[in-house]
Symmetry: C2
Subunit: 197 residues, 2 copies
């Protein structure tokens, strides 16, 4: 019913999260009407993203520099590491304006049902960062759902014997929700009220 | 707070309709995690769309052939033309399975508030298609809102003197809505119950 290049684009757009067939159709027809320049810029931004963005070798945030801005920043507190599931969770934490320590991105949460075990996350890399006694506290800022809580418990069991305090974001975040959608105030108060696991 | 290529892509994604900053962030981070191949395919589909898709010279549907499939199809009824605002409205009409005539895409609706007058739409091109006495009926399938109704009235005033019947999709479509989101059954019954303007 659509010209092949149109249905092609609709198929590709539909693969993205939250984009159903109707949204994909709407976006495809928007791009048909958009200027050549706008469409070109979008396509180039996608290609450029995949070409230039790599993982930070320290914390596994995404970056186009040798180290990410939070690891390269000499004014941050080295004694505290905030552990998040995904790189975009760092942005949510930064928006609270309450945190000046370092980060570590796990790349997900423990979820046996999805076949994700501790070895699939960057936990070894986190433990390596704890060598040298500089770090005094790990804040577990995984999502407030079953997988996130399980990951927090697992990390606490591993890290507490090393003499490092392990804390968890305070409840106040709605359970079952997603860290990405928390508003800054809620997330900020959850950060302040964090409790030891 | 984001690496430049990431915030760049978020900016470009946010330009699309229905994509706010949060959705754009989500999509950008999805693309970061997606395979190189998937991201490449999406970027190529966008570029390919703009390179190959042109307007059909007869009805102004979008197509990558010399004529669109509805104009090229020799089994369709030449005596009846369905006039729609946008090319994607053709897909909605086709999904009803109730229509076997031709189409004409206006490229919008008369809307003085947006500075869109009759001369900005493909009305001259429609009148040209009525030369030769082959067409007996024009179905006005513009959106059931003020602009769509005004466009229908304008077309009726121009076309009825030529001896061509002008009909309008039956009420049954929710007024103030958008043709694109009507379900097939409602749209099909609206097509059957169309009334002369």
């Amino acid at each position: 019913m659509y010209a092949t290049p149109v249905s092609n684009l609709i198929d590709e757009l539909s693969k993205m999260p939250g984009i159903g067939p109707k949204s994909a159709q709407r976006l495809a027809f928007y791009l048909l009407k958009a200027s050549q320049e706008d469409a070109q810029k979008l396509a180039e931004a996608i290609v450029h993203l995949k070409e230039t963005v790599k993982f930070c070798p320290v914390c596994y945030n995404v970056t186009d520099e040798p180290e990410c801005e939070f690891c390269a920043d000499t004014h941050r507190d080295d004694t505290i590491i905030c552990v998040v599931e995904e790189a975009n969770d760092i942005v949510s934490m930064e928006k609270t304006g309450e945190y000046r320590g370092r980060y570590h991105v796990l790349g997900g949460a423990i979820s046996p049902i999805d076949g994700i075990g501790p070895d699939d996350l960057r936990i070894k890399e986190l433990l390596k960062r704890l060598e040298g006694d500089e770090v005094a506290e790990i804040i577990v800022a995984t999502n407030p759902n079953i997988e996130g809580e399980a990951t927090g418990m697992y990390l606490a069991k591993l890290i507490k014997p090393l003499g490092v305090t392990v804390t968890r974001l305070a409840s106040g975040l709605p359970i079952g929700g997603d860290l990405e959608y928390a508003d800054e105030v809620t997330l900020g108060s959850a950060l302040k009220g964090r409790r030891e696991i």
